[in-house]
Every structure is written in structure tokens, then in C-alpha cells.
């Protein structure tokens, strides 16, 4: 299992490193989306949970840390959106395919900040 030293390393080295790891996680989410769409089509009744959800939650927390490190006025709306999504997941635990895709696009936008 990969050693979990991510945050110690990232927080004390650079936001570039944090971004790199976020990018890897977002690519995993993209693969998950592709696989689900290949298997089930675009059926929005499909719900996403368990390991795919853990990838998403981890990415959202990484994204929150990343935008905090950017320390820019431009990130406020992204911060609010990330926090809202994490709170929604905590409350509901599952997402529909559309909601999962929406979160993926949010993360993609954050990577472009």
C-alpha cells in the first residue's frame, strides 16, 4: 500500500507537488467515469459509491488544500463549491453519475487555476 505521507510532504514542499498528486487522482476519476459509461451508458440512475467515492472525496480534500495554498481572491467560489460537495457527500453518501461527473469537472477547473 502506498505510504500516506502526502500531506506532510506536500504542505511543506510545494503547491506544485500537491497539484501533481491532485492531477493523478483526477485522472483516476476520469477512468472510473469512462468505465462506468462504457458499462452502463449515460443512465443517470447509476449511483456511484465506495472506492470511486473515496477517490472523489480524497480529491476534493486535496483540492481544498490546493486552493488554500494558492491564497488568491479568485478561488473563493471554488472553495465554496468544494466544501458544499463534501458536505453533500457526507450527508448522502452516494452520488448519481451526473453528480459525479459534475464533481469531476469542478476538479478539472481547479487544476487550471
Amino acid at each position: 500500500m502506498e505510504r500516506k505521507t502526502l500531506y506532510v510532504d506536500y504542505l511543506f514542499s510545494s503547491k506544485e507537488k500537491l497539484k501533481e498528486n491532485l492531477n493523478k487522482k483526477v485522472n483516476q476519476i476520469k477512468d472510473t467515469l469512462k468505465n462506468v459509461e462504457r458499462k452502463y451508458g449515460n443512465d443517470n440512475k447509476i449511483i456511484v459509491k465506495n472506492s470511486a467515492m473515496i477517490d472523489l472525496k480524497e480529491s476534493l480534500v486535496l483540492a481544498l488544500s490546493y486552493i488554500a495554498m494558492l491564497n488568491s481572491d479568485k478561488v473563493k467560489e471554488y472553495k465554496d463549491e468544494v466544501i458544499q460537495k463534501l458536505a453533500y457527500i457526507k450527508e448522502n453518501r452516494i452520488l448519481t453519475l451526473d453528480q459525479y461527473r459534475d464533481a469531476y469537472w469542478l476538479l478539472k477547473q481547479i487544476l487550471e487555476l
Binding site: K4, K15, E58, L64, I67, A68, N71, I83, L86, A87
Partner: protein
């Protein structure tokens, strides 16, 4: 015991120790936010646990800022340290005083904590401040 044996282990300085402590507690927070409530776990983690860990992280962050004393810093960085210190104190106080903090509020506190600490941590490698003044023991 071999008399030629020499200890090579170095005790990390205070700042490094606080960095490690801060990093560890941040990891615990991230794990709590990421892995809880998955795989059919019916128990929802309560905000108290998150609050407790955030308080610990803020305390470490304050200690970390304090441990930068004695390092050469530009006037701008010194001002940033002072501002970050006041902000962290305010966050700590908010957690202690406000018993109604929601999950959204706590995520916001996490965000602010990382923001304040990263300002200080990204200023580069500190250089020990040259000793000046009178250190004579009388």
C-alpha cells in the same frame, strides 16, 4: 560496548518536530474526511472529533510559527507570521466558543488553517539569525 561507536542520530530541531506533528494531525483530519462513512459504515463521524483534531492542528501551527523565532526573516515575512498568528488564534477561539459549528464551518476552518500556515511555510529555507547584542552572563 564498542567505544568507537558513534551516534549518528540527530534530534530534529524544534521547528522540524512541530512540522512533523502538524503534518501528522493534518493527515488524521484528511483521513477522517476521506475514509469515514464509506463501505456501508453506518456511523457518521461527529463534528466533535473533527473539532478536536482541528484544535490540535491549530495548536501545532501556532507552535510552528513560534519556533520560527530566531530565524532571519524579511520584514514582510515577519509581518506575515504576525498576521497568521492572530488569524490562527481567532480560529482556535472560534472552535472553543462556538458550540454550533456545522460541518461546513469546520471545513472552512480547515481551509483557513492550511491557507495561513502555507503562507509561512513557503517563504524558503530559514537562515539562523546572527547573534547580536550582549549575551554575557553576569
Amino acid at each position: 560496548m564498542d567505544e568507537n561507536f558513534q551516534y549518528t542520530y540527530q534530534i530534529p530541531d524544534l521547528k522540524t518536530r512541530f512540522q512533523i506533528g502538524f503534518g501528522n494531525i493534518i493527515e488524521q483530519i484528511v483521513n477522517l474526511l476521506t475514509y469515514s462513512e464509506m463501505y456501508g459504515d453506518t456511523e457518521t463521524f461527529d463534528n466533535e472529533e473533527l473539532k478536536y483534531k482541528l484544535r490540535a492542528a491549530i495548536a501545532y501551527a501556532l507552535a510552528l510559527l513560534g519556533s520560527t523565532w530566531g530565524y532571519a526573516m524579511s520584514v514582510q515575512v515577519q509581518a506575515d507570521v504576525e498576521t497568521a498568528k492572530e488569524s490562527l488564534k481567532a480560529l482556535f477561539s472560534r472552535i472553543i466558543k462556538d458550540s454550533e459549528l456545522s460541518y461546513l464551518d469546520l471545513l472552512d476552518i480547515y481551509y483557513q488553517l492550511i491557507q495561513k500556515v502555507s503562507i509561512i511555510l513557503n517563504y524558503g529555507t530559514p537562515i539562523p539569525r546572527p547573534r547580536t547584542g550582549n549575551y554575557e552572563i553576569t
